[in-house]
């Protein structure tokens, strides 16, 4: 069979190729609903990773909130395995207790193999420390490391006490104040206390700084102001940077995204002294589980746009629908128009640079869409808002 002669397609104007570049990777953003394509490539991560540990053998406890402490320890995997293997039950134990309590008290957490951190629930204020260890045969506590103590603040208004007032002009530098205080004595107390102590001892420098007489204040004033302030011992509403993103997200029809911490409290056991409870079975470093995505109905959008293109002398003046249009260097132009259903007309006019020649055209268009099934019409009210969790949003931290 003889080869068929090749049939070259007729040339198409360049403007019709505008944007017709090969398909690109798709989006992970809210437009995913309106866009099909492949997924974006993975984010490049450094080739070398951070070490699993630095094997310093140290334990830290950090206040996450007044009810929750984060305990972390820095041991190599080998160190942890070896210590666990020498224990009576093959486990390491985390003890979190008031700083004044003896070893082995407070919250005791039997750690799963390999754990390097734990969140521990505490109640009430006070100073706590954490200790990592294990019981070695016959049943002797072996400490692997003890943290520095951490103060847990009482998260409620303090009882009313007598008020102390002080005067410190903002424009007197601290360095100047300290210099004069140090002239008088070596004082390690907080600044205001130090000045007051020195003054009681006859210190006369910095006359404008130091204790001031408290203005009169009555219990009635105190009660009245508390009503204005809505002082509540247990605040439940917080407003910060995250809240505005949630507000905007919810306003856009999305649900709250903040993960609940509710899943982390499982496994609490018998309460111990001073409100501390024995915990077991918690899992450290959980990823908060998201809700299963709801079933998405079949969807279909159809839109129509019109491209008007052409060319004239590069220095000509062009108007479309009475609006001036900037020509490309070669004198060509292309404009897109959204085309809802209906009848339309468009006037296009070119005037030569010397105003001597005029060319114009009047274009008429009609779009009539017959919908079958769910009706849509551009601008399409069925287009749902982008999903907030996919939006790469600005950070307000």
């Amino acid at each position: 069979m003889p080869p068929q002669p090749s049939r070259r397609p007729p040339p198409l104007p360049p403007s019709l190729f505008e944007g017709d570049v090969p398909p690109v990777p798709a989006v992970s953003g809210p437009g995913a609903r309106f866009f099909t394509g492949s997924a974006p490539g993975p984010v490049h991560l450094p080739d070398a990773g951070l070490p699993e540990s630095y094997a310093t053998g140290r334990v830290w406890v950090t206040l996450a909130d007044p009810q929750r402490l984060l305990v972390q320890w820095d041991f190599s995997a080998d160190q942890l395995r070896t210590a666990a293997s020498q224990s009576v039950d093959g486990h390491l134990i985390l003890s979190v207790r008031p700083a004044t309590a003896p070893p082995g008290g407070g919250v005791l957490v039997v750690l799963p193999a390999g754990a390097t951190s734990w969140f521990v629930t505490v109640t009430g204020g006070g100073t706590y420390l954490a200790e990592l260890g294990c019981y070695q045969p016959p049943r002797e506590w072996k400490s692997l490391g003890v943290s520095e103590p951490v103060a847990v603040p009482a998260d409620k208004p303090a009882p009313t006490e007598s008020a102390e007032f002080a005067t410190i002009p903002v424009d007197v530098p601290f360095a100047e104040i300290f210099a004069k205080v140090k002239e008088a004595a070596e004082v390690s107390a907080p600044l205001i206390q130090a000045i007051n102590q020195l003054r009681e001892a006859g210190f006369t420098a910095l006359p404008e700084i130091g204790a001031a007489a408290p203005p009169a204040w009555t219990p009635e004033q105190q009660r009245a102001l508390a009503e204005v302030l809505h002082v509540a011992p247990n605040r439940r509403v917080w407003v910060g940077s995250l809240d505005v993103t949630e507000l905007v997200r919810e306003a856009a029809g999305e649900g709250p995204s903040a993960p609940s911490s509710a899943g982390f409290a499982a496994g609490e056991e018998a309460a111990g002294p001073e409100g501390i409870r024995r915990l077991a079975g918690e899992v450290s470093s959980l990823e908060a589980g998201g809700a299963a995505p709801g079933r998405r109905g079949f969807w279909f959008n159809v839109n129509a746009e019109l491209i008007v293109y052409g060319a004239t002398e590069p220095d000509a003046k062009l108007t479309v629908a009475g609006r001036p249009v900037k020509l490309r260097p070669d004198g060509s132009f292309a404009l897109r128009f959204a085309l809802p259903d209906g009848d339309y007309e468009l006037s296009v006019r070119a005037v030569s640079a010397d105003d001597a020649d005029v060319r114009s055209a009047r274009l008429e268009f009609r779009r009539a869409t017959e919908y079958r099934g769910a009706e849509t019409h551009p601008p399409d009210p069925a287009l749902r808002p982008p999903k907030g969790e996919h939006v790469n949003r600005s950070v307000i931290a």
Binding site: P46, S53, A158, T167, A252, G342
Partner: protein, 525 residues
Amino acid sequence: MSGQFALILHAHLPFVRHPEHERFLEEAWLYEAILETYLPLLELLERWRADRLNVRLTLSLSPTLSTMLLDPLLQARFERRLNGLVELAEKEVFRTHFDAALRPLAEFYVERFVRLRELWRGCDRNLVGAFASLQAAGRLEIITCSATHALLPLLARNPGSLKAQVRTAQEHHRALFGRDPVGLWLPECAYAPEIEGVLQDANIRWFVLDSHGLLNASPRPRYGTFAPVFTPNGLAAFGRDFDSARQVWSRQAGYPGDPRYRDFYRDVGFDLDFEYVRPYLPSPEHRGFTGIKYHRITRGGGGAKEVYDLRAAAAAAREHAAHFLTAQLKRLTATAQIMDRPPLVVAPYDAELFGHWWFEGLQFLDAFVRGALASGADLTFTTPTDYLRQNATLQVVRPKPSTWGEGGHYAVWLNEKNEWIQPHLRAAEERMTDLAKRFLTADDLTARALRQAGRELLLAQASDWPFILHTGTGPEYATRRVKEHLLRFFNLHEQLLAGRVNAASLQAIEEQDNLFPHLDYLHWA
């Protein structure tokens, strides 16, 4: 009634400069904020100045943000993006020619973008300088925050890091504005008594606490959040007024959720033909925000969005401003009758709330300020520094550790998604202190490596990365940033200990993470 209102806007973005890519998605955070918040804010402040409104406010400019605003590469890229948006908006005027509802909006965006471009060029692309001019004219007070927006109480474990974050920010501020900051914005309002020594050494005179940090202070503060207090170290602590915060941005009842306001998410970058919008997207391979949005939040209708109505949105902003003003005056009037001094309302907000998240937010502010000044009420717009100049005598209390994050403490920045960062930061912080002590003097190359190690550590300490990991809005990027900065740090640490600094790779890192050129690594010593 006599009262004072301290409006504090905290402007911050993490350092997202990526010269290694021609267009980089996360750099768009900066461009969106410039276009939607910083330029419109400047425009508003200039209008207030022109109208001779007696308004003073406080602007906290984070060092990472001001560095980026002054970066020639980012300035050029923003201008390229702005030019693109003008072009896109002009195309939109034609595209919406047959759509009577959208066309006025397209014309609105053309006018807006062109106007803001003129403002941008008019201030010589130097927003920091423009705000500095307003400060010099007495219109606002600029303060700083920690160098890379690190949560300072978490750094109390390493005094060198705490000092470096505060002193670097202070030195950066001095270099930009020719004066020291009087106040310092505590990132996320995170406070613990352990940070006071460093603040005191830097002669920082005031900071802001969330309301519970002050209300739970010991002894109980007599005036609640209606007056600042001195800590025992003589630093003034101002408490955020909870009611004014809740009204503006509470997720339950905040004004920005009104259905008449512009929808944040619905953007032509997601709605229109990909190839059409592609040249104007933040990243050429991904859909993203352009800033041209045609829909309002809308309520009901099964999720369908109605077309944004400029007039209705402006009316909503005025209504909300009037409501806010009425509420403020009512509370201040009640409080003034109780207190023996004029009550003060401290209202701090993220600056990006106004314009970026809440498109009409600056209209709201404008209406609130003008309404207050026209009301005849004895309400003064002040700054914390001005307040302290007029009121040098305060109650002395010990504030409570606190933040303004969810739960009031560190649950956002220390949880199961992001706690893995902390051990690495601790290790790096201790190594940096060791380096500083080891190299009290250093030759040029070694000093450069030490400075860069300090920069990498500062960048790794930013609170933004654990925040993003918590919210899940870009965890890959946040993870990558933390790892990259820490790995660069550890690599430099090894080179310094071995006495073999690789000059070529050092230069490459210096060009990429180029903030704080005169960083003093001895802060860590």
